[in-house]
């Protein structure tokens, strides 16, 4: 069954078709939600929101773009919306005063002799550095690096031009390098 057929069946209220779509795209949605939020519980809530939005909005899918791009767009927009709301909530509740933004935890090499643990620690350093990037740079980088989307697909998902994608990725990587360099002392 192709994307358009699947979408049409869901439009007509076919629950099995929706379950099929969920099974096919749950990894994609959960993965991007997890990488964008950096939190498992948040990723689960976002994934749930995204699939509810897909169910209600499938009538708007006309098959002009790939279904996966359309789903990515919903997922990215949901992540950005929740991030903005969270930021606003933290300002209102003054939580930001107690948050250590961009402060990566020191990693001690003595406690991680094992290669796997060392790799996990390096992953954590990079993940935290990515989380501290501005939202749009982070989105472009995650879509490119972890979701393996082409520049054209990123442009379609983020609804921006190709040159804007290039610029975002360029700035994201330059910023990331500057955040990673001071981590040398923890390696």
């Amino acid at each position: 069954m192709n994307d358009q057929e699947l979408a049409t069946k869901i439009k007509n209220g076919d629950q099995n078709a929706f379950k099929q779509l969920y099974q096919e795209y749950q990894h994609l949605v959960y993965d991007i939600s997890y990488r964008m939020s950096g939190n498992q519980e948040e990723a689960e809530d976002i994934t749930q929101d995204v699939f509810i939005k897909i169910f209600h909005g499938v009538a708007k899918f006309r098959g002009e773009a790939k279904l996966s791009s359309w789903i990515y767009r919903i997922a990215v927009n949901t992540c950005l919306k929740r991030a903005r709301r969270k930021k606003l909530e933290s300002w209102i509740s003054l939580e930001f005063l107690f948050q250590e933004q961009g402060q990566l935890e020191p990693v001690s090499p003595e406690v991680s002799p094992d290669q796997q643990i060392e790799t996990a620690e390096k992953e954590q350093i990079v993940q935290e550095a990515i989380q501290s990037l501005p939202e749009r740079q982070k989105t472009a980088l995650i879509l490119h690096r972890y979701e393996n989307l082409s520049y054209e697909e990123i442009a379609s998902v983020m609804e921006i031009s190709l040159s804007a994608v290039e610029s975002l990725l360029h700035r994201a990587k330059d910023n990331l390098t500057q955040k990673l360099l001071p981590m040398k002392k923890y390696l």
Partner: protein, 159 residues
């Protein structure tokens, strides 16, 4: 070129995303600068080690959560076809309409039970007179103590 400018470009250098000119500049600088070679090693060890191979997997119970939410939305009855803000606005409106209907139905039903739609005061007076054999709407109703006294007085005066 300054160290900072070179170091800023190291990730893009590793991912081969620099222009040919920039690439040559960085390579030349790295050949003669140990500090920047160290920086390259740091960035490389983090960036390469971190590269993920598989997607994060959604927990198995998530489908149940989604289907339960969809089921709950489907049970929203007459409002299900509307969007959330419209649905919220419709609820009090429907409540007011229902209350008004009950109020006016009560009045109509009351009229029907009294059997007439005439003057309420008139009907009440007639019914009360019928039921108790006296009119409570006169100054001295027949059968009252004052009326009896008046009749006795008139009789005595006549005698």
């Amino acid at each position: 070129m300054k160290h900072k400018t070179i170091q800023k470009k190291l990730l893009r250098y590793l991912d081969e995303e620099l222009s040919e000119l920039e690439k040559v500049e960085v390579q030349r600088h790295l050949e003669r600068c140990e500090t920047c070679r160290d920086a390259l090693q740091t960035v490389e060890s983090l960036w390469i080690a971190e590269r993920p191979l598989e997607r994060k997997t959604a927990p198995p119970f998530l489908w149940t959560r989604i289907s339960v939410q969809l089921g709950a939305e489907a049970e929203k009855g007459i409002f299900k076809g509307f969007k959330e803000p419209v649905r919220l606005a419709l609820r009090p409106l429907v409540t007011v309409v229902v209350l008004l209907f009950i109020f006016f139905s009560g009045i109509t039903l009351g009229d029907l039970m009294t059997g007439s739609s005439g003057d309420v005061t008139e009907i009440s007076t007639e019914r009360i007179t019928d039921n108790f054999g006296m009119s409570y709407f006169e100054i001295l109703p027949p059968g009252s103590l004052d009326a009896s006294s008046l009749a006795l007085t008139e009789k005595e005066v006549g005698r």
